[in-house]
């Protein structure tokens, strides 16, 4: 399930990144387009303002030059330069405002034309102004000289002509009008004729007339230029105001676009947020969901329970489900689970919620079911699950299940405790949690024992006890089995059934074995007789434990020859080759090997044959009722016969009564041990029990 969900994650990240990139692009666009464009816009507005201002300065420059005593054209030239500079800046920024380039190009072209025209007019104005200024200056100055001269000659005609011309020029110049120009021209022609009479050679007279002619010929041009400048100026202002209107319009459009863009960004951000929330919810859901079956998982239960007023939890365990997985593969296992889920969902839809709690357990959560219905509901469930045949790749499979029920919080924990307990009580199919079960107390006591175990190991309070094993033929104690005992701090001696299973699960098991081997060996070092020590397959598989045992046995070969290792035949051993190697090695040292608890359930004659063992110890469950149970007797007889056949000695355990003892002797078992014959004790027994039948010897 990992691969697809990872790809999914990849897509999610891609999608989210895509939205992020989208937002980024929008931001960039707003930044680039918006900022740049608005900057250009602002710059354009500024240039237009400045141009408008310069335009309004034109007239004042003209006036200044006309009124000043001595003209200075620098200001005027600078004015022209400034206008061109502003115009070029404006042109540039207009060009950069790519979107509106065409709309204002024509107007800019027109504006450029008016500027060029205005410049021409200004150049002409400068020219004529210099000329006319000098001419009016000279006509005035020369008229005075000439009038004096003419007056001296009492030439009143000349005086009047000179005066008229001078006066007309002065008035025309002052009033800036072309009204009297034709008259002036006429006067000049007349005066020329008058002067020609006797002032032909007079330089001042010629100069006077030359200047008067210049004035008369050019003054209307001078006025026209000013008029045209005025017109051009007006045209220019019109174009500028057109540009401004367009600019305002463009600005408005840009603003609108920006507003739209900001909406887009808002939308994109909202979308991104929605996506994130969506994915968060999905992730949360996925975390609460079981991949294989698509129903809620353990996490989900905790969430859902909160919504129930009166919840009851049915924990359904599929017994031996792990076999399905190991035999058919986990795909088949998943398929089976889905079929189970389908059945449960179909039956309980609307009535209960279904969750998968572990690899092979489900939980059904009911609300306000009522304790009275528990039993009915459980049998319903069991028949629903167990009466059905499941299909695994065409193979019909049936399942077995056990159910625990809890309605006292924490539900799942309580149900689990009950279920664990249920598994140990092999035949019960269901149990209901209640405080009275004392399961917590058991757990508590388990923890307590674990603590005791630890301190016992630390304080050397693990001891071997010895139970005698009698030879049925001689009635004599031939050897002892070394059995582990734990002495509490209070001095109480606890049998292994109370602490060994806990030790097995806690990792304290290996040290216990080592202690037992060491202490048993050291006890028998100066005693008579053989002795047997229990080894589990786990011990044999534990390299450290083996290393210890090897070292101990290597040091004392004589003692080693007296040891029998009792190996528990177990379903857990998958690889008997290690056990086989151990047996070969131990036998090489003179040790003997017994198979313990034979016939307890998983016994396999084939395995025994391959192991070259010396003894078979027949399981107590067969022996304890052998005197009355025909089946037990039959199985025992078979085992004994088999042992005899392959030349292996037999030991029977759990001989708790005379009747049992008599029976096993009759059946031909080689050795016996049991409470009836001898209790385990801290010291070995040296005498035979009186109860041993002498006839058997």
């Amino acid at each position: 399930m990992n691969r697809p969900s990872r790809i999914h994650l990849f897509h999610k990240i891609n999608l989210t990144l895509l939205v992020a990139v989208g937002v980024g692009v929008l931001f960039w666009f707003i930044h680039h387009y918006g900022k740049e464009e608005l900057l250009y816009h602002a710059a354009s507005v500024k240039q237009l303002d400045a141009l408008e201002h310069e335009g309004s300065q034109l007239n004042s420059h003209l006036l200044e030059i006309k009124l000043s005593t001595y003209p200075n054209y620098d200001d005027f030239n600078e004015h022209i330069e400034r206008r061109w500079r502003l115009y070029n800046v404006l042109l540039n920024s207009e060009n950069k405002e790519s979107m509106h380039q065409h709309s204002s190009q024509d107007a800019m072209q027109q504006l450029g034309n008016t500027f060029a025209e205005a410049e021409h007019l200004i150049r002409d104005f400068q020219r004529l102004h210099s000329t006319l200024r000098n001419s009016s200056l000279y006509t005035h100055r020369l008229s005075q000289q000439l009038i004096f001269a003419a007056a001296g000659m009492a030439d009143r005609e000349k005086v009047s002509h000179i005066f008229d011309i001078s006066d007309t020029i002065a008035t025309t110049s002052e009033l800036q009008t072309d009204k009297w120009l034709p008259l002036l021209q006429e006067k000049i022609i007349q005066t020329e004729q008058v002067f020609a009479r006797d002032w032909e050679d007079k330089h001042e007279a010629a100069s006077f007339l030359a200047h008067a002619k210049l004035f008369a010929n050019h003054f209307s041009d001078y006025l026209n230029i000013q008029h045209n400048l005025d017109m051009v100026g007006r045209q220019e202002q019109n174009i500028i105001s057109q540009l401004r209107t367009r600019l305002d319009h463009d600005g408005q459009e840009e603003l609108n676009l920006l507003v739209q863009l900001s909406y887009a960004i808002f939308l994109a951000l909202t979308l991104a947020e929605v996506l994130i929330i969506y994915f968060l919810i999905k992730a949360e859901r996925a975390a609460n969901m079981d991949d294989a079956t698509g129903i809620g998982n353990r996490r989900a239960i905790e969430e859902h329970i909160k919504r129930y007023h009166e919840p009851s939890l049915f924990l359904i365990n599929l017994d031996q489900f792990s076999h399905v997985n190991s035999i058919y593969g986990s795909r088949a296992g998943d398929a089976l689970l889905r079929q189970v889920v389908t059945r449960l969902q179909h039956r309980y839809s609307g009535k209960a919620e279904l969750f998968r709690v572990s690899s092979k357990s489900f939980a059904l959560l009911f609300d306000a079911l009522g304790k009275a219905h528990y039993s009915q509901m459980t049998s319903d469930l069991l028949s629903l699950l167990e009466d059905a045949t499941y299909d695994i790749q065409g193979i019909p499979v049936r399942i077995s299940s056990s159910i625990s029920i809890a309605d006292i919080p924490p539900l799942l924990e309580h149900a689990n405790i009950v279920l664990t307990d249920l598994k140990q009580r092999r035949h019960a199919k269901y149990a209901i949690y209640s405080k009275e079960l004392g399961l917590e107390a058991r757990i508590e006591s388990n923890l307590n024992i674990l603590e005791q175990l630890k301190t016992a190991i630390e304080n050397d309070r693990i001891h071997p006890y010895f139970q005698p094993i009698f030879c049925n033929r001689s009635g004599r104690i031939e050897k002892h089995e070394c059995l582990i005992r734990l002495e509490t701090a209070a001095g109480e001696v606890i049998p292994p059934i109370k602490f060994l299973p806990i030790a097995r699960e806690s990792g304290l098991y290996a040290p216990l074995t080592r202690i037992m081997v060491k202490k048993s060996m050291s006890y028998f070092r100066d005693k008579e007789g053989d002795f047997s020590i229990n080894l589990s397959p786990e011990d044999i598989l534990n390299l450290e434990t083996m290393a210890h045992i090897f070292a101990d046995l290597d040091l004392e070969p004589d003692l080693a020859r007296r040891i029998t290792f009792e190996i528990l035949e177990s379903e857990k051993v998958e690889d008997w080759s290690v056990v086989k190697t151990f047996i070969q090695w131990a036998k090489g040292l003179g040790c003997r090997i017994a198979i313990d608890d034979f016939g307890a359930g998983y016994s396999n004659f084939e395995t025994i044959l391959a192991l070259q063992i010396d003894y078979i110890k027949i399981d107590g469950s067969l022996i304890k009722s052998i005197d009355t149970d025909q089946n037990a007797e039959m199985v025992t007889r078979t085992i004994l016969e088999f042992a005899r056949h392959i030349g292996v000695k037999t030991v029977v355990e759990f001989v708790h009564s005379e009747a049992v003892h008599a029976k096993v002797c009759e059946l031909g078992a080689d050795y016996s041990q049991g409470y009836h014959l001898g209790m385990p004790a801290a010291e070995i027994m040296t005498t035979a029990l009186s109860g041993v039948d002498a006839t058997m010897v």
């Binding site: 003209p71 054209y73 030239n77 150049r123 020219r127 210099s130 000098n134 000279y138 030359a210 200047h211």
Partner: protein, 273 residues
Amino acid sequence: MQLGRQLFFDPILSADQTISCASCHQPNLGGADGVSYSSGVGGLKGNMNSPTVLNARFNFVQFWNGRARTLEQQALQPITNPMEMNLSLDELELRLNISDSYPLAFKAIYGSRGITRQQVAEVIAEYVAALVTPNSRFDRFLRKELELTPQEQNGYELFKSLGCISCHNGINVGGNSYQKIGIINSWQGAPGVDLYARTGRETDRDHYKVPSLRNIALTAPYFHDGSATNLSRAITMMADDNLGVRLATNETADLEAFLRSLTGEIPVIFGLP
């Protein structure tokens, strides 16, 4: 600016590598060349009197007829003019790019490889713009740092009252408008490359950019054709032809004295690098 200076004095800019900018704009001749018409490559005579480069930046346009608006636009024209340096701009770029020193010097300024004509124009214009002549006696008089001599003072008064100032005004005492030469008495000499040559407008005949009068004492001969060999002759001609005034000898002398007060300090950088 040092690079512009180097270019200004380097004959590499002319076709036969005989003429530099400085050939016609000599530091010791007031930024002009002392002859009526300059000699170009192969000894070709030009058709206009070489104007000074000094204070050229204050002229409202460049050349006698204003065919360049800026110094940058001006800078390359004498190089390509067949009668002056007669060097194509392609050849110019080639020469500079394969030269020993220029590629590095240009790279130091522009950071890019390959010298372009535009860069040459900018560099020369930058240099020419620095050629200004401050602190003439007249400038200092205007700043009230000194008194003019009585003769200079008289000349100044005449300059104003006669109307010279109508055209020769502003920072450059001229160089800020086009005017007609021979407005009273038509110009008798051969027509030069006047405004008409550029605009084709009949009324632009004999119109030229009014020359600056700064350093005028250094730049004989005078007028666009160099027809006035000395300053007093130029003053007399101007008064006669453009104002219709016959000056008395002392008036001419006074005006000349005033014009000589317009000679400023030649900048140190105006010289061989």
